[in-house]
Subunit: 147 residues, 2 copies
């Protein structure tokens, strides 16, 4: 698993707080602590998933494409991660071995159940829930909040 | 995530069916469809976690270190995967940004909840449950079962 999910959540919470003003990939990269080209690749995934949209031209950048309370962490996860990676199966068990020929069929329903439990948990939180908490949460280093 | 979990489950189910007879890394590798050195590295993790043990010498190999109904998929998972990898955080959000300075604290409890849901699901199945199903499950290709 990559850090794409965490970065995407970060970006979406940032955009929620930015309101109607688009945020550039440079500004987002500064907040996330990465480079703008990685942010642009991520935004193109989020755009495709209908979570963000881009405003072109001077002063352009990224905006949320829908209200933050209509974006669950599950949708973010699905937009940026390949779900098959959660617990991948090995590719070539021996088909004539009693275990090898059946392991995929045995493990698949268990892995599906794990995935379902993850999804149910992720679906419980929206970007709006996290954005609300920002104002209630002290910063990591109290001195960082000083003017 | 790697395929280590799936391979480890495969190996443990195989050992359960092998009973008191040790299985060599070569035999295990043939069933899994990989090379013996990968199996040996995996077995050393499983040994360390107390799930398997090795019998040395001629005719030696791996054995289960405890009854298969006392090995849950959660224990297998913990023996071979680094749990921090499930949903990793990005390493360096900007500490002075209102979002960057708080994103870790916001996301950590959500990621913990996802992990907890995964664990609860994995804890529900044992190696014995899977081994029992082997005999009830037709092989992937029916012709492969022919004598």
């Amino acid at each position: 698993m990559t850090t794409r999910f965490a970065v995407a959540v970060h970006v979406l919470v940032f955009l929620q707080r930015h309101g109607d003003e688009p945020a550039s990939s440079e500004v987002l990269a500064g907040s996330v602590g990465t480079n703008p080209s990685l942010i642009r690749r991520l935004l193109s995934r989020l755009n495709r998933a209908g979570l963000t949209r881009s405003r072109l031209g001077t002063g352009g950048g990224a905006l949320l494409a829908r209200p933050a309370d209509a974006i669950s962490l599950l949708e973010v996860y699905r937009a940026v991660e390949d779900d098959e990676d959660v617990i991948p199966l090995h590719p070539s068990p021996h088909p004539q071995c009693p275990v090898g020929g059946r392991i995929k069929r045995l493990l698949t329903p268990r892995i599906e159940a794990v995935r379902h439990a993850m999804h149910a948990e992720l679906a419980r939180t929206t970007i709006a829930d996290l954005a609300v908490e920002i104002d209630e949460t002290p910063p990591l280093r109290p001195d960082a909040a000083a003017p």
